[in-house]
């Protein structure tokens, strides 16, 4: 079957195509070159905007803490019940949507892939089982390391990097992950020893290891293993006024190794002004612009009810006083990690929340290279992903942005430089941030672009002055060449695949350490910890896609 998408305005930054009218041909789920025969289906897209399917490179869509959030918020679900309709199953939406609804709604926004950033290796099986129940999207996960006792013991005993590399590779394989994330390096473990904060160069009370050492060790491991996605870092001191300084030292401290700083908005706070809370966006953006080894996603907050779900039990516990509604869960998890789930209501009239909103937008607008910055709300931590069209409009439409700025807490607005920033993102830049750049960051060579050989994940929009409207309702979404959304509504349900990396490593040598470790200290056997391929592929819905480990392309 040949499908022709005729004459759309194509935004394909991977190939430098910036709104040129092009035909695109699809055969067997892939984009192919011009074909002489008459297509089976032709879509006249003249005047429409065509992009690759969007990729959310940091979204909490599956795993233990997401389901804790679901269990925590029945009243939020009741506000957004979703009935079954045609092929679509029932569920619920808003802050912690059900897996099925998550998939449909992402597709309805033109997204074709989402990556769960906080896969605790011990809980990876659950993350995969939940992500398997997210339809429409390709998925993947970042395995969380850095507060696991096995790594901290290796580091505390001065074990050579090669052993750690083997352990990191083994974890990527065992957890079926595509990258490695570190959350509050060492701090989740330190909390179990009743240490309530851990700065970049502060020693872990038991292991005497510092966050800086954890970051360097893991970042180096990924480089040496050739894993395309750089170490994905949720740094120290999340949400703490003055953490701007920690973040700048973290950037310097990685000494040029590739590093991704996630939801950087939450790590960009100064202590100026009467309320000792100020924007550090300018300094962060300046450091970002200067350090080409650094990539970031923003974790923009948007006003309203949401829930924060994080592996950072230490910082989340420190924030439980802000829980709204007043309930929360924190957990220590299996000598592996932890989690904290705290509902939040960001209010535009609240000084801190309003300034957080400004800080995120300032970072977006001051960061010069769209290939290294990614559009996220850290769903659902800053806001549910359903607000992406609104966020895109804030970035693309200065007058809309300034109108909103006029409605927020006036003290926050007065302190922010946002009103003076002229920049408006272009469609081309949006396509970089949400497609081409995200695919490149993850090492997905056949996603995020519209060249020959790419998977036919394609989104078609009607151009509109109102970018929220435009991005909120695509005309068409194709997933692997199949039409799945028409006029913003799911018309066909598909199951996505799982993206992973499987770097080469010395399995026998690391398992000779791990097997006795599991037998002695864990509560399950090493063999049962490893997630086998049949567990992902057994029911025929998802396939495992393995991406090469040859470093960053």
């Amino acid at each position: 079957m040949l499908i022709k998408l005729r004459g759309g305005k194509v935004y394909d930054p991977a190939h430098g195509i910036d709104g040129e009218a092009r035909d695109i041909y699809i055969r067997d789920g892939r984009i192919v070159g011009p074909q002489p025969e008459t297509p089976t289906h032709e879509y006249d897209l003249r005047g429409k905007v065509v992009m690759a399917g969007a990729i959310d490179m940091h979204t909490h869509i599956g795993g233990g803490k997401v389901t804790i959030a679901r269990n925590l918020l029945p009243e939020d679900h009741r506000g957004d019940p979703v009935a079954s309709e045609g092929l679509m199953r029932a569920g619920c939406g808003h802050a912690a949507p059900s897996t099925l609804t998550t998939g449909y709604r992402y597709a309805e926004l033109g997204y074709t892939a989402g990556f769960e950033p906080a896969v605790l290796p011990i809980n990876a099986r659950q993350a995969h089982m939940e992500m398997a129940d997210v339809p429409m999207l390709d998925v993947g996960g970042y395995a969380m390391l850095g507060s696991d006792d096995f790594l901290l013991r290796l580091m505390a005993s001065g074990t050579e990097q090669e052993v750690i590399n083997n352990y990191v590779a083994w974890t990527l394989h065992s957890a079926q992950a595509i990258g490695v994330k570190v959350v509050n390096p060492g701090g989740i473990s330190a909390f179990k020893f009743n240490q309530r904060s851990l700065d970049l160069d502060e020693a872990h009370r038991y292991y005497q290891v510092t966050p800086r050492q954890v970051l360097q060790t893991l970042a180096r491991a990924l480089v040496e293993l050739g894993v395309p996605h750089p170490l994905h870092v949720h740094g120290c001191n999340l949400g703490v006024p003055g953490n701007l300084d920690t973040t700048l030292r973290t950037i310097a401290g990685i000494e040029g190794l590739p590093m991704h700083l996630t939801h950087i908005q939450f790590h960009s706070y100064g202590t100026e002004g009467d309320r000792k809370f100020s924007s550090g966006a300018a300094q962060i953006a300046e450091a970002f612009n200067r350090n080409k080894n650094i990539t970031i996603d923003v974790g923009q907050i948007l006003f309203g009810q949401t829930v924060t779900a994080s592996g950072d039990s230490q910082r989340q516990f420190a924030n439980v006083g802000h829980a709204n509604p007043n309930k929360w869960v924190c957990m220590d998890i299996e000598c592996d990690a932890g989690c904290g789930v705290v509902p939040f209501k960001y209010r535009d009239k609240n000084f801190v929340n309003a300034l957080q909103w400004c800080i995120g937008l300032e970072i977006f607008l001051l960061a010069e290279d769209p290939w290294r910055i990614f559009l996220t709300t850290d769903h659902p931590n800053g806001a549910p992903f359903m607000s992406y069209p609104h966020l895109i409009r804030l970035l693309m439409d200065k007058s809309f942005r300034n109108d909103r700025l006029a409605t927020i807490n006036p003290d926050a607005a007065a302190l922010s430089t946002l009103g003076g920033i002229e920049r408006e993102y272009s469609l081309y830049e949006i396509a970089i941030m949400t497609r081409a750049g995200a695919a490149r960051l993850l090492g997905l060579r056949d996603r995020g672009h519209l060249g020959e050989g790419a998977a036919a994940d394609i989104t078609v929009y009607t151009e509109d002055e109102d970018k929220e409207k435009m991005f909120g309702k695509p005309d068409y979404v194709f997933k692997d060449g199949e039409l799945v959304v028409r006029n913003g509504e799911v018309v066909h349900v598909v199951w996505g695949n799982l993206h992973t990396v499987k770097p080469e490593f010395d399995r026998a040598s690391i398992e000779s350490r791990l097997k006795p470790y599991f037998d002695r200290y864990h509560t399950m056997k090493m063999d049962n910890f490893i997630i086998r391929d049949w567990e992902i592929e057994g029911d025929g819905r998802s396939k495992i896609m393995v991406h090469p480990c040859e470093g960053r392309g």
Binding site: G91, C92, M331, Y521, T523, N528
Partner: protein, 423 residues
């Protein structure tokens, strides 16, 4: 079976029955017979060794072909005004298939163990908690408080595996761990330390636990109580207990919700959770509720991620509606609102309760009935007859389940999917 099969021995087999997911079992398989050779206990051995029973479905009391039974089941569902589904000793895939069918047939999802599970879940949704997992307990606990429960009968290997391990990550001498029972005295000796040190018991009648929990919660916050006793326990004793947990480095408070069988037990659980939260102002202390037998946690987890709600969900109006009181199968059957009971149990052979409405059973082979159901489709058990996945009580660790033998029995998931297709 005519073929002769060499006995085969499997090691590191996870148990889907015990809620703490022991995965070190050694099991011998000869033909259809399973024998637990090592690391079994009073819960897992019967779970694995339960002999097979019916191999073919029955409809109206008569042997029926599978597709015949499936069609009959579909007809029952089609004609039902409000089918209520319960049982739910199932693995992840069986639960997925069940939820799909429940949604399609506009039914209600309940679990036989929901009443116990809700004693915790209602607290989670109302105020939350500070919790830990079995692996942290094993390596860190220094003081373990057992609240109103006798753990050993329900979790025979809990102490051996998690409280008295030979070594821990942090060099703790586990023999010096303190176990304190608040409530009934333990029946067995599993909680006695390897050195013979018996646990401290603070006796308290079960129905007095709410008053005691409330007192503890207040004491942790620094309140001074005017009364001399709370729930029959001297306040000085409760004050000392609070101090002991404040001095501990890593206290853990546990209970078996199924045993807190008194009205509004969730309020006592909530007070205990608040007690633990308050202790974390100074030290570390966590809860670790025990439960999860027969797929209780598994079905609840899958229901939560697919619908947003953990249990007792109705699809009667097309979308999931959570009502922990209204959507009880027992209540819906007693009031006459439900007109069909669908009993799904692929792990346990627990049969459905006698009901005044037609009953459809998708149940593990070996189930026997007081009252012959309208349709019975015997199925294999995940972890014995099919691969699968299950959750243990801490809701964090999911274990793979393996196929140990070839019985030809269909999985509950495949039967449920076939019924849905026939609808």
């Amino acid at each position: 079976m005519t073929e002769t099969i060499q006995p085969q021995v499997f090691e590191n087999v996870p148990s889907p029955f015990c809620g703490i997911a022991s995965d070190d079992l050694k099991i011998e398989v000869s033909g259809h017979r399973l024998k637990v050779l090592a690391n079994g206990d009073a819960v897992t051995v019967p779970g694995f060794e339960q002999p097979l029973g019916d191999m073919t479905p029955r409809a109206g009391g008569q042997a029926a072909a599978l597709d015949e039974a499936v069609n009959r089941a579909a007809r029952l569902l089609k004609n039902a005004r409000l089918p209520v589904f319960s049982g739910f000793g199932t693995d992840v895939n069986d639960t997925r298939a069940a939820l799909s069918l429940i949604e399609r047939s506009g039914g209600v999802f309940d679990q036989a163990r929901a009443e116990a599970g809700l004693r915790n879940l209602l607290v989670l949704a109302d105020s939350g908690w500070m919790a830990t997992t079995l692996g942290e307990l094993k390596n860190r606990v220094d003081v373990l408080l057992v609240f109103g429960s006798d753990i050993e009968p329900a979790f025979p290997r809990f102490f051996q595996r998690f409280v008295w391990p030979e070594e821990t990550l942090f060099g703790q001498d586990t023999r010096r761990r303190e176990v304190i029972y608040l409530g009934p005295s333990p029946g067995g000796s599993a909680s006695t330390s390897p050195d013979g040190l018996e646990p401290k018991v603070i006796p308290c009648a079960t129905d007095q636990l709410p008053a005691v929990a409330a007192a503890l919660s207040a004491l942790a916050k620094g309140a001074s109580l005017q009364a001399e006793a709370a729930g029959g326990v001297p306040v000085t004793e409760l004050q000392a207990l609070t101090e002991r947990l404040k001095q501990a480095s890593y206290g853990v408070v546990t209970w078996v919700a199924g045993q807190l069988d008194f009205p509004h037990a969730e309020l006592a659980v909530q007070q205990i959770c608040q007690f633990v939260v308050t202790l974390n102002q100074e030290t570390r202390c966590s809860i670790l509720p025990l439960g999860g037998q027969d797929g209780d946690r598994t079905a609840s987890q899958v229901c939560a991620w697919q619908t947003g709600y953990p249990t007792r969900v109705s699809f009667a109006r097309g979308y999931p509606e959570y009502d922990p009181y209204h959507n009880s199968a027992a209540r819906l059957l007693a009031s006459g609102e439900a007109d069909l009971l669908v009993w799904v149990n692929s792990h346990a052979t627990t049969p459905p309760p006698a009901a005044n409405v037609p009953t459809l059973v998708i149940g593990r082979s070996g189930m026997s009935f007081e009252q012959e159901p309208e349709v019975y489709i015997p199925v294999g058990a995940p972890g014995l007859d099919h691969p699968g996945h299950m959750y243990r009580c801490d809701n964090v660790v999911a274990l793979p389940l393996y196929k140990l033998r070839e019985t030809g029995l269909p999985s509950a998931a495949s039967v449920l999917a076939a019924i849905e297709k026939a609808l």
